[in-house]
Point group: C2
Chain length 442, copies 2
Amino acid sequence: MSDGDASTRRPLRTDLTPIVDAVAAADADAFVAVGDRFDADLRYLTRFAGPDRAYALAVVPGDDDATARAVCCAPSLFRAQAEREFVASAHDRDDGDGDGEFHDGVAREVRTERAGDHAGERAAAAVRDLLGGEERGGDEDSDGEGDRDGLDDGDPTILVPPSIPHDAAVYLERAGNGLASTDAVTTARARKTDAEIDRLRRVQRAAVAGMARAETVLAASEVGGDERERPTLRWEGAPLTTERLRRAVNATLAARGVRDASDTAIGVGPSAADRHDAGDDPIRPGETVLVDVSPRGPDGYRGDLTRTFVVDGDGGWERRAYLAVESARAVALGEIKPGVPAKTVHGEAVAELAAYGFDPNAEEGEAGFIRGAGHGVGVSLHESPSLSSGTELRPGHVIAVEPGVSDPSAGEVRLGDLVVVTEDGSEVLAEYPFGIAPTARE
Amino acid sequence: MSDGDASTRRPLRTDLTPIVDAVAAADADAFVAVGDRFDADLRYLTRFAGPDRAYALAVVPGDDDATARAVCCAPSLFRAQAEREFVASAHDRDDGDGDGEFHDGVAREVRTERAGDHAGERAAAAVRDLLGGEERGGDEDSDGEGDRDGLDDGDPTILVPPSIPHDAAVYLERAGNGLASTDAVTTARARKTDAEIDRLRRVQRAAVAGMARAETVLAASEVGGDERERPTLRWEGAPLTTERLRRAVNATLAARGVRDASDTAIGVGPSAADRHDAGDDPIRPGETVLVDVSPRGPDGYRGDLTRTFVVDGDGGWERRAYLAVESARAVALGEIKPGVPAKTVHGEAVAELAAYGFDPNAEEGEAGFIRGAGHGVGVSLHESPSLSSGTELRPGHVIAVEPGVSDPSAGEVRLGDLVVVTEDGSEVLAEYPFGIAPTARE
């Protein structure tokens, strides 16, 4: 991202100890994850922004005589990148000579042999090798099919994420392993390190710049008189549409180093309730314009910032809704501290909205429907903890707090910020001002 | 994208007949796919740009008395979007009243009941219902756990993509189904319809605009004298780096409607060989600058355009390489026509590079290493047909033809274009000029 110098950044690296501990706690023998670069678990575990075909990670705990080991089975064309991102970045001393100690005590290596085989087969071979079930030979063929018989004395148990690709799971099973699923990765991902919070803050600052662009465009727009029946906004000589506004936001994000802005959502009026819509609608005066900027930063972490504007509003439903949502947001932020069940935050926000006259029992599509108050954010836009869960908040949880209300006949108002749970409360990662009437911010 | 009017576009919709046929050919009972919005198969099959949690598609063939049916099990908040993208877009008459005939004869519907359950469970329930194993009741609970006993008369067989999430596969199996994997989706995806080619052409035109931006920035750069030892390029008052150039390209892509530019890769000099690097290196005169623009368009289709430039070059290795690669590209394009094995295209390109003195047997990291000549492109950046496979080319295959050579001591030269296989040859989807010395193109 544009602020901060790479040389002063905390290194982004994952502590694999919780995975090692989960294997030990389950009395299992290894952990394997398989996926492509869109797999958030694998991205988190390896820090390797891998290929768009499957690769694998195998982790085996150590014992008194050996340290725990982790092997990334990568395509051969990606060897240098995997060495850099998975191995070198995990060294305590990044002196590049490869003999640094690993920060979490888990020794990492990249293997590219048998690169043409399925990642599940390669992971099975790596586990067999790490467990010492077969002496590892000097050439690439020594891990071939014939080795399978070597493992019959007690089937190893491998922990896997629940959604590991089925073909990879079948390869692991055919190689003589039993599988058990683990939520250790989900749990580990939920609590962010200082380096992760740094990345989340950076991408959220880009989201702030994108939001400022959107608000500035709205502030600069004028009510057009061309259409006889329903006026629309005009900007730079043409009708302002959700697609034009999205492009303006995304160009700002790109200039700040964001490479993926797929989740920039602009919704107008009643259609704002369908917040996943990526259509091209005219933006009209008096309608709610919901701007949800959720970029993905270069390290894979996500921002999530939401504001709602009305150009030339009449101070009706949307102003009442804005006051209620702003108040619900304040109440929600006030609830956040370690030890509080996540759903309490949602519950208190809903209670505040209800105090403003919005029906807490309204269904989606009914007047006053209240949305979920938020969700965890990290390498996925939606991850643990959910604010509808009973999970106790803990320091390092990062949450998009985004209460909102919608009404099919009026529109939707939502206000969302990214906050980190601290030792004694919470901190907003990047502030953005409030106000339903747009103001030039650039 | 910016060119063309939405109202004149061909509707983007998937013919599910090959899936129905694959079920029949395998003597199976149904097809199920499960994944989130990053799952390219599911995106292709449903045209639903779904949520980042798992959803499902179930397809059951019809018989003499019934049409084939397809059910999308979506989260309830996405109902309207799924109805629009999965159901309405597949109507022959898009009159919005829901009674249109489906273009491929497969009746589509969205189900949101049991939205809290795992997508695998929901798909199992949908299959059971479609197969008539259980009378479907009027309320949401009728598909509950107790139904499982209703299916014991002959276990249904369900075809699944090989990489379906393992937990989903386990849910399907526990519900009494046998699973078999199918490559029907991969095969269907490889041959593009006119509407898909239209989307590929649009996003490739955005890639052309991004490339023009990169070339123009390079043409406007000057050799800086600030650094005593090695000069760098300077642009708009600051050193030009790969990150600055990438941001300039991506801002242009965003302004053209691209939302995901994660795969814009800029590599300089020897590091260009590591084309997946997303670092921030100075760009120097005399070095190869490889620009690979592979945006993802709003409908999910990918562009892929590659050019190589040298600012202030001395006409050495890189000029010889450029001539060789340009010639190899011409030879490759000349080979492409229906009936030709894909690997022939690669083989002829390699032979041409060898005729220019580049070693066809060089390994990666050695002087003159020759890269694969290309790959299929669609909703994934790399999909069938691979140019290293024996697959026969057929009309509608879309391929990134991108021969290149690299040398660790000199750099990398690659030239890539997106072409569609036509009835009697091939057509470049969007032309971009050639030339190793950058020219202002904007």
